[in-house]
Symmetry: C2
Subunit: 156 residues, 2 copies
DNA sequence: AATTTAGTTTACTCAATACTAAACAAATCT
DNA sequence: AGATTTGTTTAGTATTGAGTAAACTAAATT
Protein backbone atom coordinates (compact mmCIF):
# COMPACT_ATOMS: atom_id res chain seq x y z
CA UNK A 1 0.00 0.00 0.00
CA UNK A 2 2.13 2.88 -1.26
CA UNK A 3 0.64 6.13 -0.02
CA UNK A 4 0.07 8.03 -3.24
CA UNK A 5 0.18 11.60 -2.02
CA UNK A 6 -2.21 14.45 -2.72
CA UNK A 7 -1.89 16.79 -5.69
CA UNK A 8 -3.09 19.95 -3.94
CA UNK A 9 -3.69 21.39 -0.53
CA UNK A 10 -7.39 21.14 -1.26
CA UNK A 11 -7.06 17.41 -1.72
CA UNK A 12 -5.57 17.08 1.73
CA UNK A 13 -8.24 19.28 3.26
CA UNK A 14 -11.00 17.27 1.64
CA UNK A 15 -9.59 13.92 2.77
CA UNK A 16 -9.01 15.26 6.25
CA UNK A 17 -12.44 16.84 6.59
CA UNK A 18 -14.13 13.73 5.27
CA UNK A 19 -12.59 11.72 8.07
CA UNK A 20 -13.62 14.30 10.65
CA UNK A 21 -17.11 14.34 9.19
CA UNK A 22 -17.36 10.60 9.81
CA UNK A 23 -17.11 11.38 13.49
CA UNK A 24 -20.29 13.43 13.31
CA UNK A 25 -18.95 16.92 12.84
CA UNK A 26 -20.12 19.28 10.10
CA UNK A 27 -18.08 19.20 6.94
CA UNK A 28 -16.80 22.72 7.41
CA UNK A 29 -15.55 21.83 10.88
CA UNK A 30 -12.95 19.51 9.42
CA UNK A 31 -12.28 21.78 6.48
CA UNK A 32 -11.21 24.61 8.73
CA UNK A 33 -9.13 22.36 10.97
CA UNK A 34 -7.46 20.76 7.97
CA UNK A 35 -6.78 24.05 6.30
CA UNK A 36 -5.29 25.53 9.46
CA UNK A 37 -2.87 22.60 9.55
CA UNK A 38 -1.27 23.54 6.24
CA UNK A 39 -2.13 27.12 5.37
CA UNK A 40 0.43 29.85 5.00
CA UNK A 41 0.54 31.91 7.11
CA UNK A 42 -0.80 29.79 9.97
CA UNK A 43 -3.37 32.45 10.87
CA UNK A 44 -6.30 33.06 8.53
CA UNK A 45 -8.95 35.75 8.18
CA UNK A 46 -12.63 35.45 7.33
CA UNK A 47 -12.00 36.15 3.62
CA UNK A 48 -9.07 33.71 3.62
CA UNK A 49 -11.28 30.91 4.84
CA UNK A 50 -14.22 31.89 2.65
CA UNK A 51 -12.12 31.90 -0.51
CA UNK A 52 -9.89 28.91 0.09
CA UNK A 53 -12.67 26.66 1.33
CA UNK A 54 -15.49 28.11 -0.79
CA UNK A 55 -17.81 28.61 2.16
CA UNK A 56 -20.08 31.43 3.29
CA UNK A 57 -19.34 34.13 5.81
CA UNK A 58 -22.06 32.75 8.05
CA UNK A 59 -20.42 29.35 8.06
CA UNK A 60 -17.07 30.81 9.00
CA UNK A 61 -18.73 32.66 11.84
CA UNK A 62 -20.68 29.67 13.13
CA UNK A 63 -18.01 27.03 12.86
CA UNK A 64 -15.15 29.14 14.19
CA UNK A 65 -17.35 29.80 17.21
CA UNK A 66 -17.74 26.05 17.71
CA UNK A 67 -14.01 25.51 17.36
CA UNK A 68 -13.26 28.35 19.76
CA UNK A 69 -15.66 26.94 22.35
CA UNK A 70 -14.02 23.54 22.08
CA UNK A 71 -10.60 25.12 22.46
CA UNK A 72 -9.27 23.83 19.15
CA UNK A 73 -8.50 27.22 17.57
CA UNK A 74 -7.80 30.68 18.91
CA UNK A 75 -8.19 34.26 17.78
CA UNK A 76 -5.21 36.24 16.62
CA UNK A 77 -5.19 40.02 16.51
CA UNK A 78 -2.69 41.93 14.45
CA UNK A 79 -1.82 45.52 15.32
CA UNK A 80 -3.44 48.03 13.05
CA UNK A 81 -5.74 45.47 11.47
CA UNK A 82 -9.46 45.23 12.02
CA UNK A 83 -9.96 41.68 10.87
CA UNK A 84 -9.97 38.66 13.13
CA UNK A 85 -7.54 35.88 12.37
CA UNK A 86 -7.77 32.31 13.52
CA UNK A 87 -5.05 29.77 14.12
CA UNK A 88 -4.81 26.25 15.48
CA UNK A 89 -4.34 26.19 19.19
CA UNK A 90 -1.19 24.53 20.44
CA UNK A 91 -2.01 20.97 21.41
CA UNK A 92 -5.34 20.95 19.62
CA UNK A 93 -4.55 17.73 17.77
CA UNK A 94 -3.90 15.95 21.04
CA UNK A 95 -6.97 17.46 22.67
CA UNK A 96 -9.11 16.37 19.77
CA UNK A 97 -8.04 12.75 20.05
CA UNK A 98 -8.25 12.79 23.81
CA UNK A 99 -11.90 13.69 23.44
CA UNK A 100 -12.36 10.67 21.18
CA UNK A 101 -10.81 8.41 23.77
CA UNK A 102 -13.38 9.52 26.32
CA UNK A 103 -15.67 6.98 24.69
CA UNK A 104 -14.04 4.15 26.62
CA UNK A 105 -14.50 6.04 29.86
CA UNK A 106 -18.16 6.76 29.12
CA UNK A 107 -18.84 3.14 28.26
CA UNK A 108 -17.06 2.00 31.38
CA UNK A 109 -19.39 4.15 33.42
CA UNK A 110 -22.52 3.02 31.60
CA UNK A 111 -21.67 -0.67 31.89
CA UNK A 112 -20.72 -0.13 35.50
CA UNK A 113 -24.14 1.25 36.32
CA UNK A 114 -25.70 -1.55 34.34
CA UNK A 115 -23.88 -4.12 36.45
CA UNK A 116 -24.99 -2.39 39.59
CA UNK A 117 -28.60 -2.69 38.47
CA UNK A 118 -28.25 -6.32 37.44
CA UNK A 119 -26.84 -7.22 40.85
CA UNK A 120 -29.85 -5.66 42.57
CA UNK A 121 -32.10 -7.75 40.35
CA UNK A 122 -30.12 -10.92 41.10
CA UNK A 123 -29.93 -11.34 37.36
CA UNK A 124 -28.81 -14.73 36.18
CA UNK A 125 -26.26 -13.76 33.58
CA UNK A 126 -24.12 -10.68 34.03
CA UNK A 127 -21.10 -12.29 32.42
CA UNK A 128 -21.40 -10.44 29.12
CA UNK A 129 -21.74 -7.06 30.74
CA UNK A 130 -18.94 -7.73 33.20
CA UNK A 131 -16.59 -8.58 30.37
CA UNK A 132 -17.52 -5.38 28.55
CA UNK A 133 -17.00 -3.34 31.68
CA UNK A 134 -13.59 -4.90 32.34
CA UNK A 135 -12.44 -4.15 28.84
CA UNK A 136 -13.62 -0.57 28.82
CA UNK A 137 -12.00 0.15 32.15
CA UNK A 138 -8.74 -1.25 30.88
CA UNK A 139 -8.94 0.81 27.72
CA UNK A 140 -9.90 4.01 29.49
CA UNK A 141 -7.02 3.75 31.93
CA UNK A 142 -4.39 2.72 29.46
CA UNK A 143 -5.25 5.20 26.74
CA UNK A 144 -5.18 7.99 29.27
CA UNK A 145 -1.71 6.81 30.23
CA UNK A 146 -0.66 6.85 26.59
CA UNK A 147 -1.59 10.48 26.15
CA UNK A 148 0.17 11.49 29.34
CA UNK A 149 3.28 9.64 28.29
CA UNK A 150 3.22 11.32 24.89
CA UNK A 151 2.79 14.75 26.38
CA UNK A 152 5.64 14.13 28.79
CA UNK A 153 8.00 12.99 26.07
CA UNK A 154 7.16 15.43 23.31
CA UNK A 155 7.04 18.84 25.03
CA UNK A 156 3.57 20.07 24.20
CA UNK B 1 -19.34 11.22 41.42
CA UNK B 2 -21.23 8.24 42.79
CA UNK B 3 -22.65 6.22 39.92
CA UNK B 4 -26.35 6.16 40.66
CA UNK B 5 -27.38 2.97 38.90
CA UNK B 6 -30.25 2.40 36.52
CA UNK B 7 -33.74 1.39 37.62
CA UNK B 8 -34.55 -0.89 34.70
CA UNK B 9 -32.92 -2.78 31.89
CA UNK B 10 -34.49 -0.30 29.52
CA UNK B 11 -32.67 2.52 31.25
CA UNK B 12 -29.38 0.81 30.63
CA UNK B 13 -30.26 0.13 27.01
CA UNK B 14 -31.24 3.75 26.43
CA UNK B 15 -28.07 5.12 27.98
CA UNK B 16 -25.95 2.66 26.09
CA UNK B 17 -27.64 3.25 22.74
CA UNK B 18 -27.45 7.01 23.18
CA UNK B 19 -23.69 6.76 23.49
CA UNK B 20 -23.47 4.52 20.44
CA UNK B 21 -25.71 6.93 18.55
CA UNK B 22 -23.22 9.73 19.25
CA UNK B 23 -20.77 7.75 17.19
CA UNK B 24 -23.00 8.07 14.15
CA UNK B 25 -24.91 4.80 14.28
CA UNK B 26 -28.69 4.54 14.10
CA UNK B 27 -30.44 4.50 17.43
CA UNK B 28 -31.63 0.94 17.00
CA UNK B 29 -28.09 -0.21 16.35
CA UNK B 30 -27.11 0.60 19.91
CA UNK B 31 -30.43 -0.57 21.30
CA UNK B 32 -29.94 -4.05 19.95
CA UNK B 33 -26.32 -4.24 21.06
CA UNK B 34 -27.21 -2.96 24.51
CA UNK B 35 -30.12 -5.33 24.88
CA UNK B 36 -28.05 -8.31 23.80
CA UNK B 37 -25.60 -7.45 26.58
CA UNK B 38 -28.16 -7.98 29.32
CA UNK B 39 -31.10 -9.94 27.96
CA UNK B 40 -32.09 -13.36 29.22
CA UNK B 41 -31.58 -15.66 27.48
CA UNK B 42 -28.61 -14.25 25.57
CA UNK B 43 -30.21 -15.13 22.24
CA UNK B 44 -33.26 -13.21 21.05
CA UNK B 45 -35.83 -13.66 18.32
CA UNK B 46 -37.48 -11.10 16.06
CA UNK B 47 -40.52 -10.78 18.35
CA UNK B 48 -38.25 -10.55 21.40
CA UNK B 49 -36.45 -7.58 19.96
CA UNK B 50 -39.62 -5.97 18.59
CA UNK B 51 -41.38 -6.14 21.94
CA UNK B 52 -38.57 -5.30 24.30
CA UNK B 53 -37.24 -2.42 22.23
CA UNK B 54 -40.55 -1.26 20.74
CA UNK B 55 -39.30 -1.31 17.18
CA UNK B 56 -40.70 -2.57 13.90
CA UNK B 57 -40.02 -5.85 12.18
CA UNK B 58 -38.36 -3.99 9.30
CA UNK B 59 -35.97 -2.31 11.68
CA UNK B 60 -34.99 -5.59 13.27
CA UNK B 61 -34.35 -7.01 9.83
CA UNK B 62 -32.31 -4.04 8.59
CA UNK B 63 -30.23 -3.43 11.68
CA UNK B 64 -29.49 -7.07 12.45
CA UNK B 65 -28.21 -7.34 8.88
CA UNK B 66 -25.86 -4.41 9.54
CA UNK B 67 -24.68 -5.99 12.78
CA UNK B 68 -24.16 -9.34 11.11
CA UNK B 69 -22.14 -7.78 8.30
CA UNK B 70 -19.95 -6.03 10.83
CA UNK B 71 -19.49 -9.27 12.72
CA UNK B 72 -20.90 -7.95 15.98
CA UNK B 73 -23.75 -10.45 16.33
CA UNK B 74 -24.43 -13.91 14.99
CA UNK B 75 -27.40 -16.06 14.15
CA UNK B 76 -28.47 -18.88 16.41
CA UNK B 77 -30.66 -21.73 15.25
CA UNK B 78 -32.53 -23.91 17.69
CA UNK B 79 -33.58 -27.41 16.73
CA UNK B 80 -37.21 -27.70 15.84
CA UNK B 81 -37.72 -23.94 15.76
CA UNK B 82 -38.27 -21.87 12.66
CA UNK B 83 -37.35 -18.53 14.10
CA UNK B 84 -33.95 -16.94 13.87
CA UNK B 85 -32.26 -15.91 17.07
CA UNK B 86 -29.46 -13.42 17.44
CA UNK B 87 -26.75 -13.21 20.05
CA UNK B 88 -23.69 -11.10 20.64
CA UNK B 89 -20.63 -12.52 18.97
CA UNK B 90 -17.76 -13.43 21.24
CA UNK B 91 -15.29 -10.57 21.26
CA UNK B 92 -17.71 -8.11 19.69
CA UNK B 93 -17.10 -5.50 22.35
CA UNK B 94 -13.38 -5.57 21.64
CA UNK B 95 -13.93 -5.53 17.89
CA UNK B 96 -16.22 -2.56 18.21
CA UNK B 97 -13.66 -0.48 20.05
CA UNK B 98 -10.86 -1.63 17.80
CA UNK B 99 -12.79 -0.16 14.90
CA UNK B 100 -12.99 3.14 16.78
CA UNK B 101 -9.25 3.15 17.26
CA UNK B 102 -8.74 2.91 13.53
CA UNK B 103 -9.28 6.68 13.52
CA UNK B 104 -5.71 7.28 14.62
CA UNK B 105 -4.44 5.04 11.87
CA UNK B 106 -6.53 6.78 9.23
CA UNK B 107 -5.39 10.20 10.36
CA UNK B 108 -1.80 9.05 10.38
CA UNK B 109 -2.16 8.06 6.76
CA UNK B 110 -3.91 11.26 5.73
CA UNK B 111 -1.36 13.50 7.43
CA UNK B 112 1.42 11.38 6.00
CA UNK B 113 0.20 11.97 2.47
CA UNK B 114 -0.24 15.62 3.27
CA UNK B 115 3.38 15.86 4.35
CA UNK B 116 4.49 14.14 1.18
CA UNK B 117 2.67 16.75 -0.87
CA UNK B 118 4.00 19.66 1.16
CA UNK B 119 7.57 18.44 0.66
CA UNK B 120 7.08 18.36 -3.11
CA UNK B 121 5.86 21.95 -2.95
CA UNK B 122 8.79 23.00 -0.82
CA UNK B 123 6.25 24.43 1.54
CA UNK B 124 7.59 26.76 4.18
CA UNK B 125 5.84 25.48 7.24
CA UNK B 126 5.12 21.79 7.63
CA UNK B 127 5.73 21.87 11.37
CA UNK B 128 2.07 21.70 12.35
CA UNK B 129 1.32 18.78 10.09
CA UNK B 130 4.45 16.92 11.11
CA UNK B 131 3.49 17.18 14.76
CA UNK B 132 0.02 15.86 13.99
CA UNK B 133 1.44 12.99 11.99
CA UNK B 134 3.87 12.05 14.77
CA UNK B 135 1.13 11.97 17.33
CA UNK B 136 -1.26 9.92 15.28
CA UNK B 137 1.40 7.36 14.45
CA UNK B 138 2.25 7.03 18.11
CA UNK B 139 -1.39 6.60 19.02
CA UNK B 140 -2.13 4.12 16.26
CA UNK B 141 0.80 1.91 17.20
CA UNK B 142 0.31 2.04 20.92
CA UNK B 143 -3.43 1.52 20.95
CA UNK B 144 -3.05 -1.47 18.71
CA UNK B 145 -0.56 -2.83 21.23
CA UNK B 146 -3.04 -2.25 24.02
CA UNK B 147 -5.69 -4.37 22.36
CA UNK B 148 -3.27 -7.16 21.63
CA UNK B 149 -2.07 -7.14 25.20
CA UNK B 150 -5.62 -7.28 26.47
CA UNK B 151 -6.54 -10.14 24.19
CA UNK B 152 -3.44 -12.07 25.25
CA UNK B 153 -4.16 -11.62 28.95
CA UNK B 154 -7.90 -12.10 29.05
CA UNK B 155 -8.50 -15.17 26.88
CA UNK B 156 -10.99 -13.89 24.31
C1' DA C 1 -51.81 -27.68 -3.22
C1' DA C 2 -53.32 -24.33 0.15
C1' DT C 3 -52.38 -21.83 4.13
C1' DT C 4 -49.80 -20.04 7.66
C1' DT C 5 -45.46 -18.39 9.42
C1' DA C 6 -41.02 -15.84 9.08
C1' DG C 7 -38.27 -12.50 7.28
C1' DT C 8 -36.98 -9.05 3.40
C1' DT C 9 -37.66 -5.24 0.42
C1' DT C 10 -39.94 -1.20 -1.18
C1' DA C 11 -41.88 3.15 -0.83
C1' DC C 12 -42.96 6.71 2.04
C1' DT C 13 -42.99 10.04 6.06
C1' DC C 14 -40.79 12.62 9.26
C1' DA C 15 -37.15 14.94 11.72
C1' DA C 16 -32.71 16.81 12.10
C1' DT C 17 -29.19 19.63 10.60
C1' DA C 18 -25.86 21.76 7.50
C1' DC C 19 -25.43 25.63 4.95
C1' DT C 20 -26.48 30.03 3.07
C1' DA C 21 -28.49 34.72 1.83
C1' DA C 22 -29.97 38.51 3.63
C1' DA C 23 -30.97 41.40 7.42
C1' DC C 24 -28.87 43.23 11.27
C1' DA C 25 -25.43 45.15 14.77
C1' DA C 26 -21.18 47.14 16.01
C1' DA C 27 -17.18 49.35 15.45
C1' DT C 28 -13.90 52.24 12.86
C1' DC C 29 -12.69 55.72 9.60
C1' DT C 30 -13.43 60.16 7.11
C1' DA D 1 -22.57 62.52 11.94
C1' DG D 2 -22.37 59.63 7.86
C1' DA D 3 -20.39 55.93 5.41
C1' DT D 4 -17.81 51.74 5.23
C1' DT D 5 -15.97 47.65 6.95
C1' DT D 6 -16.36 43.47 9.80
C1' DG D 7 -18.74 39.98 11.94
C1' DT D 8 -23.34 37.90 13.95
C1' DT D 9 -28.02 36.38 13.81
C1' DT D 10 -32.18 35.08 11.66
C1' DA D 11 -35.01 32.76 8.63
C1' DG D 12 -35.32 29.69 5.11
C1' DT D 13 -33.86 25.80 1.83
C1' DA D 14 -32.37 21.47 0.89
C1' DT D 15 -30.36 17.19 1.86
C1' DT D 16 -29.86 13.20 4.42
C1' DG D 17 -31.19 9.26 6.74
C1' DA D 18 -33.86 6.84 10.30
C1' DG D 19 -37.84 4.31 10.97
C1' DT D 20 -42.11 2.11 9.58
C1' DA D 21 -46.25 0.07 7.12
C1' DA D 22 -47.37 -2.60 3.74
C1' DA D 23 -46.33 -5.41 -0.10
C1' DC D 24 -43.73 -9.21 -1.25
C1' DT D 25 -40.94 -13.70 -1.10
C1' DA D 26 -39.75 -18.02 0.73
C1' DA D 27 -40.28 -21.86 3.42
C1' DA D 28 -42.71 -25.12 6.20
C1' DT D 29 -46.90 -27.17 7.98
C1' DT D 30 -51.44 -29.19 7.33
Amino acid sequence: MSTSSYSSKSDFVEAFSLKIEELGHPRIYGQILGWLLICDPPHQSFPDLMENLAISKASVSNVTRMLLERGLIEKVRIKGERQIYFKLKEGSVIDFMQKQLRLALDLEEITSRGLEFLSKEKDTDSKRLKKANDFHRFLAEQSENLIEKYKADHDL
